[in-house]
């Protein structure tokens, strides 16, 4: 017989929980090593071929090398299962970091390019009779505020009442249909909303080329209402039933219970939802391009004539530059910066409301 007893003396006592694992620092060391190797290789290539240093290529190449090295080393030391686990872990982290690249690049370029014309003149002048330098976006900012304000005025009552219907009254097929189609409406392409507003108003006014601000507000409220419904519905649902029952027990009618108990309890969440909905539609370009049109002059009247808005201002400054392309681009970037700042401010405001004013439901 060739069978022999195991030879414990050569391996010593093995703890199966820690044996054959890579040490904790190993992935970081491999990452640093891979980037160093990739950086070195690219430096040599650059020295021989000339040209700028391709830092993006070096990082990408180094990361790929890191994944391969980690997988191979882990496969040799820890076996296939751990190796696959490590590979997927690093891929998942990489996916997150890849998504950050466009965000950082976007913020960087919008800030860097927008700051050139981010001056008082930009906020105090319109584009009337401006062909070269100077000019501003006052008419566009006014238009954006008017149209978005009007859209908010339309969609908040409709959206909030619908949410109340769904949570407090609605039962049966009608409520289910409304819920389903509200969800479907969140996916309507914005340009279709613009086309609808155009088709609607051009038919009822008989003007085949109609352009006015109120049409833009209608288009935006078509996009905004479903968002308001969904967020308000969520907020009304989390109001505890005990509060409603306490009110009913005191003889308060249902409509007063909703107005005086349910809505005040959830008002912070509803405000957050409405603010986020405003932030979503304030940057919409396509429907306003279709039905509100564009102009270089101030227009305070929602019901007459074309009205400029900030997103459309960005688009027209980019798409129809005059003889001096750079000044038009600078204005486009400055308007883009303004728009991004407005949206970020609205988002921040919404989160702050949610944090500080929501009722403390935990015990």
């Amino acid at each position: 017989m060739t069978t022999t007893a195991p030879a414990p003396a050569t391996t010593g006592i093995t703890n199966t929980l820690t044996a054959s694992r890579l040490p904790k620092w190993a992935p970081w060391a491999i990452l640093a090593g891979s980037w160093a190797v990739a950086g070195g290789v690219f430096a040599i290539v650059m020295l021989s071929a000339g040209g700028g240093y391709p830092i993006v290529g070096a990082v990408v190449f180094g990361t790929v090398l890191f994944n391969i090295m980690l997988f191979v080393l882990s496969y040799l030391v820890e076996g296939g299962r751990q190796a696959r686990n490590r590979l997927v872990t690093s891929l998942v982290v990489t996916a997150f970091l890849i998504a950050l690249i466009p965000l950082l690049s976007l913020v960087w370029t919008v800030l860097g390019n927008g700051i050139a014309r981010f001056d008082p003149a930009f906020f105090s002048q319109s584009m009337r009779n401006v062909v070269g330098e100077g000019g501003g976006a006052l008419h566009a900012i006014t238009g954006t505020l008017l149209i978005t304000g009007m859209a908010t005025l339309i969609s908040v009552p409709v959206g909030l009442l619908t949410a109340i219907y769904l949570v407090e009254y609605g039962q049966g097929p009608l409520a289910r249909a409304i819920t389903f189609f509200v969800d479907v409406m969140t996916g309507i392409p914005s340009i279709v909303a613009g086309l609808f507003a155009f088709a609607f108003f051009s038919l009822i006014t008989g003007d085949p080329g109609i352009r006015f601000g109120f049409g833009g507000a209608v288009a935006l409220s078509l996009l905004m209402t479903p968002v308001v419904v969904r967020s308000s519905e969520e907020m009304l649902k989390i109001v505890p039933n005990e509060l409603r029952e306490a009110a009913y027990a005191l003889g308060v009618p249902k409509w007063l219970t909703i107005l005086k108990v349910v809505i005040p309890t959830s008002i912070a969440g509803i405000t957050t939802g409405v603010t986020l909905a405003i932030a979503r539609v304030i940057g919409e370009t396509a429907p306003l391009l279709i039905v509100a049109g564009f102009t270089a002059s101030m227009n305070y009247d929602l019901f007459n004539d074309r009205m400029m808005t900030l997103p459309v201002f960005v688009y027209t400054q980019y798409s129809t530059p005059g003889t001096d392309v750079q000044t038009y681009l600078d204005r486009a970037w400055a308007a883009a910066l303004t728009l991004v700042l407005i949206v970020m401010a609205l988002n921040l405001f919404a989160r702050l409301i949610a944090r500080f004013f929501s009722p403390k439901l935990g015990r």
Binding site: F180, P189, R230, T285, A286, L339
Partner: protein
């Protein structure tokens, strides 16, 4: 003798209030029906008109729509191809890999991508991404020109369907991520712990507990992302250099335009039956996205607890 249960007095104010909430709910359904109705009414002139009056004098209205419909689906499908694996990875990272304490903050950061207006994405795509990708396209076409997708000649400006698809992918990543993150977080805790207790690695736990639980949700998340990519307008209008072709080539300067992008480019100067033709293409886009969204919502609604809007 039975005692009648005392009924609550019906107050007029109650009637008015519940009636007005019902009115608002029905108004939303009416609005959706009105969208379809008015688009159809405005499209009919284009459908019955002599095709020679349409732009480019196509043989029929459908020959006019075909390249646009192809471009719409092609660009959106490419965007989904890029965005889907990344989004699932990000969602898994936030739900199962990142440290608990910072996971929510990381979620907000991804949501910020969704907050950036599309026109800013368009400006970024044409001024930053397209020049950045141009040398890469040159290399791709000179080395892989034999492959049909990269057939020469290369675009000199980077305004290709591939650039558009990358920007669209960036825009739909937050949508797919948000929904699949919600789904992954709903995996029953006990399933996960049972898998781990049997000695599964984290990857195996995700394979046997998380992914099977969320499969339907992941599919509908991808479809909602696809719906958004189909309807995205400004990026296509600003970045793409369009042509009336049906072509799969990713890196050339003659790209099929999309329905939404074409409307944004042509509508401001359109007149007469041209306006009706553009509205008709919009109607087709509306129907496509409505069908895709309805299927996705139908799948999601079978698990009631989540929706993409929050």
């Amino acid at each position: 003798m039975t005692t009648a249960i005392p009924r609550a007095k019906v107050r007029p104010a109650d009637r008015i209030f519940s009636g007005s909430t019902l009115f608002a709910g029905v108004l939303i359904l009416v609005a959706l029906a009105a969208v379809a109705l008015f688009l159809i009414v405005q499209s009919i002139p284009a459908l019955v008109a002599d095709p020679a009056e349409l732009e480019g004098s196509p043989t029929s209205f459908w020959a006019y729509v075909a390249p646009l419909a192809f471009g719409t689906v092609w660009a959106a499908a490419l965007a989904l191809l890029f965005a889907f694996p990344l989004s699932i990875g990000i969602a898994l990272f936030i739900s199962h890999y990142a440290p608990r304490r910072i996971a929510q903050g990381l979620g907000y950061i991804i949501d910020l991508l969704a907050a950036v207006p599309s026109v800013v994405f368009g400006l970024w795509g044409i001024k930053v991404l397209a020049p950045f990708l141009t040398p890469f396209y040159d290399w791709l076409v000179s080395n892989f020109g034999w492959f049909p997708l990269f057939a020469p000649p290369v675009s000199g400006t980077g305004r290709t369907v591939l650039t558009v698809a990358v920007v669209l992918a960036v825009m739909i990543i937050p949508i797919i991520t948000a929904l699949s993150r919600e789904i992954f977080l709903q995996t029953p805790r006990l399933h996960e712990e049972a898998a781990l207790a049997l000695g599964a690695t984290r990857l195996e736990m995700i394979q046997i507990a998380v992914l099977p639980f969320g499969r339907a949700g992941i599919i509908s998340a991808a479809m909602l992302g696809l719906g958004r990519a189909l309807g995205e307008t400004m990026v296509v209008a600003m970045v793409l250099s369009p042509a009336v072709v049906i072509s799969f080539v990713l890196t050339s300067s003659t790209n099929p335009s999309t329905i939404a992008g074409n409307i944004a480019l042509k509508f401001p100067d359109a007149y007469g039956v041209g306006v009706n033709a553009l509205v008709a293409t919009g109607l087709i886009l509306f129907i496509i996205t409505l069908v895709i969204n309805s299927i996705a919502r139908f799948i999601v609604n079978r698990r009631k607890a989540f929706s993409g809007a929050n």
